[in-house]
């Protein structure tokens, strides 16, 4: 559609032409032949059904088709109301009349200027809101004078409800692109964005996506703001395509939709627990909500939501997840929904909390083992070891290398633990020196017991001297 100012990369890099569709040569060929059949006379198959798993380019193919053939296009998404009467209003009327494009040009079907009607997620007509929807699709298609594309994940779910479409539409299956094809698409994007991303990160993203191009592009965008080392951290270590691809959609619903109940429904559909999802909301609130007061009430909602998460943790009463979820979805949507000019593309920042937690993982583990070693040695709780003993040992180690070496030998400290005591990085020279000295001392002294006594005395003696201050 030539709208290239989208901040959302999946929109910005939507193919403008069928030849840009990734893979799927035969599907593209079938789609073109169906479109060509409209050129002469109204064909028997007024519709085309594009079938395939999420994110592989079905909607993009429909958009590209309209663009390539210069057709006007209207689209009905799952977020639109889709009961019988609203389908009849848009698809029914739209398909029987000529068209004014959004730019205000008159399009005459007699001159071959058609209007493509794209019905996204046509297998997803649920509940009372969409009552009679499936039947209305069949009716509209039967009387249509314009091309209609139905997009489905599940062909049988559609034909079960609307068996009439089988005769009226041509069924085109789209295939899952290979990791290599996804990788190539990602490479094109980063060269256009002029950003550098390590190639092993790209490969991993492509692999993780399992052919879901939309997910891959979303992932790419969500890490694009990170430093290269953080990127590999996130992609390699975080087990990261555990993030359901709909995460971004749910965030969009929460921050942008005008109807808070839509946000709630979206979160319910999301395969993610609220204690994980809250991090995404938290990360993105300041980026969406610019108004200070609104931002504060959004965080207020989030903290209430978090209270319930805390109660789930303490009481193991998982029913509280429901309250927590509703506060973080509907609650935020009430504050934010549709009130802020934000491109959906900005709402896809990967939670920094997870990155930091991952980066500090080895440090936190080292601290834990250090505490338990010292607590055991002093016959005390880890709480006491952490609060009352470690601070002293730490200053002793810094001022007295000999002591540090003996302590390291005694407690069989690892480099990470020594680094914590010295307050330096675990790969620094000081740590290495102490490690070398413990090895040297190991070889020279075989009397282990004596060493142990000495270390104990050392600790106590030095503590006393410190108390003298």
């Amino acid at each position: 559609m030539g709208r290239n100012n989208h901040l959302d990369w999946t929109e910005r890099y939507r193919p403008s032409n069928l030849s840009e569709i990734i893979g799927n040569g035969s599907a593209v060929k079938q789609l073109r032949s169906w479109a060509d059949s409209w050129a002469k006379k109204r064909p028997k198959k007024k519709g085309a059904i594009l079938v395939g798993p999420p994110g592989i380019g079905k909607t993009s193919a429909a958009h590209a088709l309209a663009n390539e053939y210069g057709w006007d296009m209207i689209e009905l998404n799952a977020s639109d109301k889709r009961n019988a009467s609203s389908i009849d209003k848009v698809v029914g009327h739209g398909s029987r009349s000529d068209s004014f494009s959004e730019e205000g040009e008159f399009r005459s079907s007699a001159r071959g200027e058609l209007k493509l009607i794209v019905f996204d997620e046509a297998d997803n007509l649920f509940g009372r809101e969409d009552y009679g929807g499936a039947k209305a699709i069949v009716q509209a298609m039967r009387s249509s004078a314009q091309p209609i594309i139905l997009i489905v994940n599940d062909y049988y779910e559609l034909t079960r409800r609307a068996s009439g479409v089988k005769k009226l539409a041509m069924t085109i299956y789209m295939e899952i692109p290979s990791a290599n094809q996804v990788l190539n698409a990602l490479k094109i994007i980063i060269s256009k964005e002029q950003i550098e991303i390590p190639s092993e990160v790209l490969v991993q993203i492509a692999k993780n996506s399992e052919g879901d191009i939309r997910a891959a592009i979303n992932d790419l965008q969500s890490i694009a703001h990170l430093r290269p080392d953080q990127m590999s951290e996130v992609v390699m270590d975080l087990g990261w395509r555990d993030i359901p691809p709909q995460t971004y959609q749910v965030l969009e619903e929460i921050f942008l939709s005008k109807d808070p109940s839509e946000a709630r429904k979206a979160l319910i559909r999301l395969d993610e627990t609220p204690d994980k999802f809250i991090l995404w909301v938290d990360e993105n609130i300041p980026r969406v909500i610019k108004d200070a007061r609104a931002r504060s009430s959004a965080f207020d909602m989030l903290s209430r939501s978090d209270i319930f998460l805390g109660r789930v943790g303490r009481r193991q009463h998982y029913r509280f997840w429901a309250y927590s979820s509703e506060l973080m979805s509907m609650g935020i949507a009430v504050v934010s929904g549709g009130k802020f000019d934000v491109y959906s593309g900005t709402i896809r920042r990967f939670p920094e909390y997870l990155i930091k937690m991952s980066q500090s993982k080895s440090r936190r583990n080292a601290l834990k083992t250090l505490i338990s070693k010292i607590a055991k040695e002093h016959h005390t709780s880890s709480e006491v070891a952490r609060e009352s003993i470690i601070p002293y040992i730490r200053s002793l180690c810094i001022s007295n290398t000999e002591f540090a070496v003996e302590l390291a030998m005694e407690l069989e400290l690892q480099p990470g633990e020594i680094a914590l005591l010295l307050g330096v990085e675990s790969d620094s020279d000081e740590v290495e020196r102490i490690m070398n000295m413990t090895e040297g001392a190991d070889r020279s002294s075989s009397e282990d017991d004596e060493g142990k006594d000495r270390a104990d005395r050392c600790v106590e003696g030095q503590q006393l001297s410190l108390f003298e201050f």
């Binding site: 209003k89 739209g94 000529d98 068209s99 959004e102 205000g104 005459s108 007699a110 314009q146």
Partner: protein
């Protein structure tokens, strides 16, 4: 900044017109006038409305776009009686439009207008022109509603005609040249239109209004009229229905 005061009836007329085609609308406000251009969701009809500042009793504005939920404002304006005065004010900080009728204020949150495109007014070659009073055509439209879902508008040098043909019944409304305010047609012009759209558009025309149809052959119709005592201009464009070739 936008602040205005007007008669409730003026605003009701405007909203009735806008709501025939769209649920959400982007009003472009300038220091001289309010403009709205929109295409309906099915891309069948288009609207171009301008309301000059003279239509208001008070009017102060800088350039601003306001995204408005039309149903919401319509609902509220229904509470206003004829002759009531309505105040409008844009609250920029809270991104709201405040509408005041009598002692009641409704604060409505505005809609994000990014992604709402503003169509250009199409330049169409429509040779036939028919001017008539809205009252003279309404009867024919009401009669058609039970007959079929489409109507033909026909203009010849001698008469203007509305024909609705159903499977079994037919409705015809014929107005000779002397029954019309104006008729200008060198040849016969005829196009078919979706009745629901045509009838909704006609129902949004305030009573006592003179309107002008511009017609072609299997081509859109342009429907023009004034509101708010010549201070507002309305243009509807309706795309023709595709005649079934099956």
């Amino acid at each position: 900044m936008f602040q205005a005061r007007t008669k409730a009836d003026t605003l009701k007329e405007l909203i009735a017109i806008v709501s025939t085609l769209v649920d959400e609308a982007k009003f472009s406000i300038s220091s001289e006038k309010i403009t709205l251009r929109a295409v309906d969701p099915a891309h069948v009809a288009m609207l171009d409305v301008q309301l000059k500042k003279d239509a208001f009793e008070e009017y102060k504005a800088d350039e601003v776009d306001l995204g408005v939920d039309v149903a919401k404002i319509d609902q509220f304006l229904r509470l206003a009686r004829a002759g009531d005065i309505v105040d409008l004010a844009h609250d920029e900080d809270k991104r709201r439009l405040n509408v005041i009728v009598g002692n009641t204020t409704k604060r409505m949150s505005l809609i994000d207008t990014t992604g709402m495109t503003e169509p250009k007014v199409p330049n169409l070659n429509l040779p036939a022109k028919v001017s008539l009073n809205i009252e003279d055509i309404m009867q024919g439209i009401r009669a058609s509603e039970s007959v079929s879902d489409h109507v033909a508008l026909v203009a010849t040098p001698e008469y203007f005609e509305l024909i609705c043909e159903g499977d079994t019944d037919q409705v015809q409304l014929k107005l000779a040249k002397d029954q019309l305010v104006e008729l200008e047609a060198k040849e016969k012009a005829r196009s078919l239109f979706p009745l629901e759209y045509f009838s909704n558009i006609m129902k949004s025309v305030p009573s006592g209004t003179k309107l002008t149809f511009s017609l072609g052959v299997d081509y859109p119709v342009k429907i023009e009229f004034s509101i708010a005592g010549e201070n507002g201009e309305v243009k509807y464009f309706l795309a023709p229905r595709i005649e079934s070739g099956d």
